[in-house]
Symmetry: D2
Subunit: 341 residues, 4 copies
Amino acid sequence: MYIALVGVSGYSGQALYQLLLNHPGVEGIDLYGHLRRDTEAEQTLDIAALNIHTKITAFDPATIMAKDDVIFFATPAGVTSQLAKPFIAADFPVIDLSGDYRLKDPASYTKWYHKPAAPAADLAKATYGLAEFENPTSHYIANPGCYATATILGTAPLLQSGVIDLDSIIVDAKSGLSGAGKKATDSSHFVHINENLQMYKLNEHQHIPEIVQELQKFNSDLKAIQFSTTLIPVDRGIMATIYAKATADLTTDQVQALYETQYQDKPFIHVSATEMPDLKRVVGTNNCDIGVSYNPATKTVVIVSVIDNLLKGAAGQAVQNFNKLFDYPETTALPTTTLGF
Amino acid sequence: MYIALVGVSGYSGQALYQLLLNHPGVEGIDLYGHLRRDTEAEQTLDIAALNIHTKITAFDPATIMAKDDVIFFATPAGVTSQLAKPFIAADFPVIDLSGDYRLKDPASYTKWYHKPAAPAADLAKATYGLAEFENPTSHYIANPGCYATATILGTAPLLQSGVIDLDSIIVDAKSGLSGAGKKATDSSHFVHINENLQMYKLNEHQHIPEIVQELQKFNSDLKAIQFSTTLIPVDRGIMATIYAKATADLTTDQVQALYETQYQDKPFIHVSATEMPDLKRVVGTNNCDIGVSYNPATKTVVIVSVIDNLLKGAAGQAVQNFNKLFDYPETTALPTTTLGF
Amino acid sequence: MYIALVGVSGYSGQALYQLLLNHPGVEGIDLYGHLRRDTEAEQTLDIAALNIHTKITAFDPATIMAKDDVIFFATPAGVTSQLAKPFIAADFPVIDLSGDYRLKDPASYTKWYHKPAAPAADLAKATYGLAEFENPTSHYIANPGCYATATILGTAPLLQSGVIDLDSIIVDAKSGLSGAGKKATDSSHFVHINENLQMYKLNEHQHIPEIVQELQKFNSDLKAIQFSTTLIPVDRGIMATIYAKATADLTTDQVQALYETQYQDKPFIHVSATEMPDLKRVVGTNNCDIGVSYNPATKTVVIVSVIDNLLKGAAGQAVQNFNKLFDYPETTALPTTTLGF
Amino acid sequence: MYIALVGVSGYSGQALYQLLLNHPGVEGIDLYGHLRRDTEAEQTLDIAALNIHTKITAFDPATIMAKDDVIFFATPAGVTSQLAKPFIAADFPVIDLSGDYRLKDPASYTKWYHKPAAPAADLAKATYGLAEFENPTSHYIANPGCYATATILGTAPLLQSGVIDLDSIIVDAKSGLSGAGKKATDSSHFVHINENLQMYKLNEHQHIPEIVQELQKFNSDLKAIQFSTTLIPVDRGIMATIYAKATADLTTDQVQALYETQYQDKPFIHVSATEMPDLKRVVGTNNCDIGVSYNPATKTVVIVSVIDNLLKGAAGQAVQNFNKLFDYPETTALPTTTLGF
């Protein structure tokens, strides 16, 4: 197959490019630019660490649909919805890593992203691609957000089971700096965030409505979740620590059983109750490791869900969706082991 | 005054020594060893970074009480309660940085510390030295734990005010590695914890009963708190993120007012609602910075309380207690500014 | 092929295991223990990050030679030379990651390693496996040291060309903590090395005689090199900064030409004169990136040579040697791209 | 005394402000802005970590000379030389942390700084304030560069003694990120430099001519030094590793004696031959720790010189110069101890 990739300059785009380079079903990857400076002339991109010198071609839908078999967008929110329209209209396969097609409600998108939303008809067509739960029902995949992936995988079994108070869910997430993007800002300056922790976008993170929308599929009575996130001085990795009050007495074994049942045939999900997972178990892989515990003193379930934000939280899950869409084995080209230390 | 210091080899002991060196009321600091290898012979301690070559003398209560005016114990839990008995019996001033005299209930101590407790009579005599709330009622100060300091300062105003559901308090704490002690272990190995996060002692941390005991002074109906802590790859600093459900509608302004009223004349406490404090605001100081917020969508109060675990969480608060005990201005020899970056 | 691997618990052993798991020519990997606690009973090893539960079997040469086709030793210096004797005697293929068979002179080994040397006859048989320069002349490969790999690859073209003063070579190397081993020590404690730099083993590092011995193959007049190394607060990566005085006027272009000629058909070596390589270009790969420069003001050639100490500096080069020994393409199972950032 | 400070927003300016706040001779600090946006209106500066709300006043020389007793410039290179003219003309005391008055030769300044130089007459008046070697001969102090401070203090005793080959000096320096300034750039992005090393400005660093000019005071035959520097992932600290060839046989003891003689009465300099200093011995202090060693195998002297770039390398040395200029004890308000770990 031939791949079109738009947005290779960001972290997710580079991770995606690297994964696809090693995919046995991929015969070629064509890079397309979406900025005006790209369309004016062909450019040579030197992806230094890949030791690859390749060209970015001006973005042109007709050319792409003629030459390639699928298009990945690793573009910022607000950009994809402008670029993807002709592909959706033509039912050409699209996998979008941005947030532009995740929320079904355009008003909610505008509220949380502070940008114009995609047309409601296009939103309705997209499959929300949390690959453990959804099979593509269209050629159009909205790849989930990084926090949303860690949080939904860590919370869904509790919701389905009905063992927790729906108003009690609190998610204290932590993320490495690659999650905040490649742009140099005061808050991504090494001297600011090294040896530091910084809570940000408290109650305003755009993954909150995405998480609620998707968790409602498991229990439609869910109204809201308390979600906070803190930047930590590491390159990669998300830890979502999830708290919920039990509605009746539970045991850690019972909680573990819920999760193991849910994820028994999912190759990337590992459940443990004996020790809580750390980031290094998953960074460099497409895995989501989940630790579960119940505290009878406070009637609280504590879940720790960890992923690599660039792989399972972005490019890895995009390839997982690609595999499902085109009938490759789900784990093709996706790392599942790491040194871990 | 002449100071006796036992346990200078640990992080807290070194921080204490450095602070006391710069205290205008301190005429001399005598270092005493408590291990058998110290008592067999005098030793020369080379505190490299202090460029100071000094001697550790064998621990002998009679000598100390003759020569010094106060004794600080920066010894591990289980050690102080063995060494402090003659000082308590003689009503000689003691400031203890270990957990040995914090819990009033010996059975609770034994349950959480897995060691024999100090005599109940000695426990009864000690003042729990959270310096913003307690004035010394005896010559014996139990200096608070680091997590307990950040958590109690961050939670007490909510409990006094009666605006939250007492069963809903969740503390997600994060701590740098100096909080885990100087001993080389697999979990303190650089390659293990660098670029990583590691939750530990889930529901088993020995500061949990200390926090509950002290918070009950603000509201005796409190039964338990959900407390978790995660090691983060930084040297110093604790962030306690505190969540609690409101019993009625609140605003961030109302929450802020509660905290500002509580701490208006406390020189080390700074309250903010406009941005959440980061670790670098406080590392290197004796401050506790507190950020407050209310989320109407989930009826949840979110509090972020940050301290330097070695200063306000240990040696700094010990000097603050020393200042109060001996009528020095509370801020004497305690840093309140930092570069912060 | 079936692989025997001794010493999977260290960083190099784990990296080797992970690489071999993905090697298309490897049908199975048998893990063998060399410590007494391993030989007393079979053990189950939980390689957490690999999500693999596997057994370590007691080390028995006869069993191994019957069952497996090659043995890798990822054991400490001083251990391999005890264990490898029967394999060498039987001309069974061995790839050794320790330093036990690198130095041809037993007296030199004893001087630098402070341990008894392997028999001189065994030393004579081993091929020093710097894969860019050596083809296996025996079934016995002494895999090079990490500092030696970075330094020799960065220096050899200068020696062959005769353009530098042989007495002037100075190597200022820097290494991440995984190079110092998995054992928890005061110097590997996070709080010691984080935010720090620490020069160690000045003029006493055991890779010095290895480097000199191998560089003498390029110019037999070389007598010594000045080599220092400094631990840096990163997990992985070595940077060797190499200085040498030119014997006649040079240009950066001339130096670059020397290196490009030397390495033109070497898939893992990349030479650049426009910018000096950083660690992130190579960590996670088997590459060695080399930057070259000439300073006419001081008549000094400056070379920067970077590798991943666990891959090109250990496990990766071992697999490269395995590929050469058994006629697989040299790059089989060896990563050459990384995100880099 | 009343202090005027221009440029408080950078790292050096903030460090200077913090030190001066604790200086017993300082009655007040007035902050002045030098940018157009500062001169249009008075501004309130919230130095968050200092918990201080203070005003920046428009820069006006006449006002400053009337109100204050000395002016510190913590402004970028190229700015001070524009602002300082009236102060120099009036012989008003100036301490400049930029590089604008360090080089005596205007042509050299223009070559290395790529900016117009200050007038030669002004350059001639300035005292180069390496406080261990120079006493102020004018009211105008050019505070040394950070690399220059570490390098000159580490090299001068060798030059005075005549024991080394003047053409052989090689300095391999390493610096934390605060040395590269507060501006957010691609190279200061956390994800770029964390877990990385990056050599920069090879043979082009503007401290090279400063070092040569000053070292020539110790031996006028010196022509050039080879100087390289590498960014390391820490906040603060410089390590200059210095190599030089001996002209005759030496011993480490002899080298140590040279340094101890040179620095015997200098309160901030500590010399050691038993172990090489690490960064944490000096970060947070105004010290320069120097480790010395001689390698007979290569006839090479190896010196390791470490400082805190923001203190001894900038603000601390500026206060040291202030102390000398106004006859305060040299160590006033300057930290000499640290936890070190």
